[in-house]
């Protein structure tokens, strides 16, 4: 099986779906310009050579327009994949996502579908506050949107293919430090999330989480980059005799609640790790869900490890303080014993 980075896996996923279905096309800023970057993180690099510039469509810097065009095309028989250069720019198109894409099926009494995919890079990477936010939880609060957060190359391709074939608006959040982008577009401090990716057609179903590591003492739930922080923490904890189970939900909406509940029923302890600001966040939602549905299995309070309630800072020492580290996950787990 070939080994690929997440950027490469996404590219292959797009390529296969565009070959399979002529209604699939990509649009976004700087995604297909000859001599350009193939999107900010190389995902669409080279695709215009095969599919041309009509199907790898470079747009003006017009985020409302990009989202609106994707919606209008999706409602009339196409399956657009919109590339958002940085996730932070989703705020520029918020109306189109929250009021239009998310509500169109509902407002029409289920008579209209909006099969679009929007891909957005997230994560704090020395670019300051406006190119750094982890926005995936924001969109989990808008009924009508599916929200995906793949953390491996296998999942990135498989979930992307599911998203393209889905008849609803699907947002895919991708972490900048996990892409494995190369050359001028490589990231300092990036992980090498290289993994085996089948060449044959496969999908990862939307709504199914995965156990990344089994353990009996504590459940750690992470997403995107924090899955890796959780795994590193689990390794350290193992040396001290604590066996952590690490869960990666992969899909935030719809959420595989059962995989989390089943683990907590076994371990009796829960730590949720995310890169987003802590207050009113995704971690709070997971904690509330577990408190409602598995309270009597808990042996300790639920802990959240997240960014503090500040915008993402720039300077590396401050950024390292802001983004949840392996050490913070370890100490949160230890505080439960």
């Amino acid at each position: 099986m070939p080994e690929m980075t997440i950027a490469e896996a996404l590219r292959e996923g797009i390529r296969e779906e565009m070959r399979r279905d002529p209604s699939v096309f990509c649009l976004g800023e700087d995604i297909g310009i000859p001599g350009g970057f193939g999107g900010a993180f190389t995902v669409t690099l080279g695709l215009s050579d095969e599919f041309g510039h009509d199907r790898i469509l470079d747009t003006p810097i017009s985020e409302i327009g990009i989202a609106g065009v994707a919606i209008g095309a999706a409602m009339t028989g196409m399956r657009p994949i919109a590339d958002v250069q940085y996730g932070d720019f989703l705020f520029c198109m918020m109306d189109q996502l929250a009021n239009q894409a998310a509500k169109m099926t509902y407002m029409s009494g289920g008579t209209v579908k909006v099969p679009l995919v929007m891909r957005a890079p997230v994560g704090s990477t020395r670019r300051g506050s406006q190119h750094a936010q982890s926005l995936e939880a924001f969109f989990t609060h808008i009924p009508g949107l599916k929200v995906l957060a793949p953390s491996t190359a296998y999942d990135a391709k498989g979930l992307l293919k599911s998203a393209i074939r889905d008849d609803n608006p699907v947002l895919i959040f991708e972490h900048k430090l996990l892409y494995g982008s190369k050359g001028g577009r490589s990231e300092k401090g990036a992980l090498t999330a290289v993994g085996e990716v089948p060449s044959e057609d496969y999908v990862v179903p939307i709504g199914k989480g995965v156990v990344r590591r089994t353990g009996k003492d504590v459940t750690i739930v992470g997403k995107l980059l924090t899955v890796y922080r959780a795994l590193e923490a689990a390794q350290e904890l193992a040396q001290e005799g604590i066996e952590a189970e690490v869960i990666d939900p992969r899909t935030l909406i719809p959420l595989d609640k059962e995989i989390i509940l089943e683990s907590v029923r076994k371990t009796g302890r829960l730590v949720v790790v995310e890169e987003d600001n802590i207050t009113h966040g995704w971690g709070a939602e997971i904690a509330a869900m577990v408190a409602e549905e598995a309270f009597f299995y808990l042996d300790a309070p639920i802990k959240r490890v997240a960014a503090p309630d500040t915008p993402p800072p720039f300077a590396p020492p401050m950024e390292a303080f802001y983004v949840p580290s392996t050490a913070r996950v370890v100490s949160a787990v230890k505080s439960l014993f």
Partner: protein, 330 residues
């Protein structure tokens, strides 16, 4: 450019059809107002009274498979595009037989089966979606044209400007129809638009900007035909500004204290329905006043049927609120 004359004079059948369409909208809106006051329509309402020539003029120049995106004031757009009066009325009543199964209400009426998108109540937000629809038509090679209606107030939204630029650079088959009725809610255009005409802004995008008398249905139809032809030939979008006036309040309970009674009277003299019926009976002399009255009778029958249908239709079960968050199939 001012379009005032029609190249081919319309036939009697065409004229009576236009009158029928416009009168249906007028009577639909008047009935809505009455039914709202009687407490039968729970939905808020933005009525289209006075602007009928725009929706009918534009939609009569379209193919059935062309697309229309309406606004918060969409009953006229929907009726002109062929959404059934029954299903719109039932929607306003909040009945399951409504065109959006009672999930939409007044501001979201639509029916994709006849090319009417669910109307979009966020001012200006329909324009980029219309561009996407036009891009899709181009990619699918269908030659379908898409219409985005918006007010002069809506013309100030960033979304509209992004949309016009994108439509222009890709030469897409989309028409931006600005219904300039001089007020956005209470705000007069002079206070929020610095150019003389909204259509003047077309120059900034390198597309034609056309101004037309929005109370002259034939002029609107002709201007639309020209723009539609351009669009189908792959020559790109047009911004068409229709000068008109809302002969009613902005929404329910609007006393219109931001405008003068004199101004209203002036525009009442330009009532598009009166103008068309006069044109038919006096200028073209293609039908008599009795024949015009007969159209009115037909329209009354359609209206009564729509109201009966809405009144007799069942209400949704409360739990139906949980359905259709995601696509559940046809």
């Amino acid at each position: 450019m001012l379009v005032t004359t029609s190249i081919e004079p319309p036939t009697r059948a065409e004229l009576l059809h236009l009158y029928h369409e416009m009168l249906l909208i007028r009577r639909f809106e008047e009935q809505c107002n009455a039914l709202f006051l009687q407490g039968k329509i729970p939905s808020t309402l933005h009525l289209y009274i006075g602007q009928e020539a725009v929706a009918v003029g534009v939609c009569s120049a379209l193919r059935p498979d062309d697309f229309v995106l309406g606004t918060h004031r969409p009953h006229g757009h929907a009726l002109a595009k062929g959404v059934s009066s029954r299903s719109i009325m039932a929607e306003l009543f909040g009945k399951v037989t409504g065109c959006c199964k009672a999930k939409g209400g007044s501001m979201h009426v639509g029916d994709m089966a006849v090319g009417m998108f669910p109307a979009i109540a966020i001012v200006g937000a329909n324009a980029p979606i219309a561009v996407g629809s036009a891009l899709s038509a181009k990619m699918r090679g269908t030659q379908q044209v898409t219409i985005a209606f918006f007010g002069e107030g809506g013309s100030n939204e960033g979304a509209v400007h992004e949309a016009m630029n994108m439509a222009a650079i890709w030469q897409l088959p989309v028409l931006f129809i600005c219904e300039n009725n001089l007020y956005g809610a209470s705000t007069p255009i002079s206070q929020v638009v610095a150019v003389e005409n909204v259509a003047d802004r077309a120059a900034a995008y390198g597309i034609p900007g056309v101004i037309v008398d929005g109370n002259d249905v034939l002029a609107v139809q002709e201007a639309t035909r020209i723009a539609v032809e351009r669009a189908r030939e792959g020559k790109g979008p047009t911004l068409l500004e229709c000068k008109t006036y809302r002969l009613c309040g902005h929404s329910r309970s609007d006393a219109c204290n931001y405008r003068t009674r004199d101004e209203e009277a002036e525009w009442r003299d330009k009532d598009p329905l009166v103008r068309l019926s006069r044109y038919i009976t006096e200028v073209a002399q293609l039908a008599t006043a009795e024949e015009i009255a007969q159209v009115a009778e037909e329209v009354e029958a359609i209206m009564q049927d729509a109201i009966n249908f809405a009144e007799e239709s069942p209400e949704p079960q409360p739990e139906e609120a949980l359905l259709h968050v995601f696509w559940e199939g046809n």
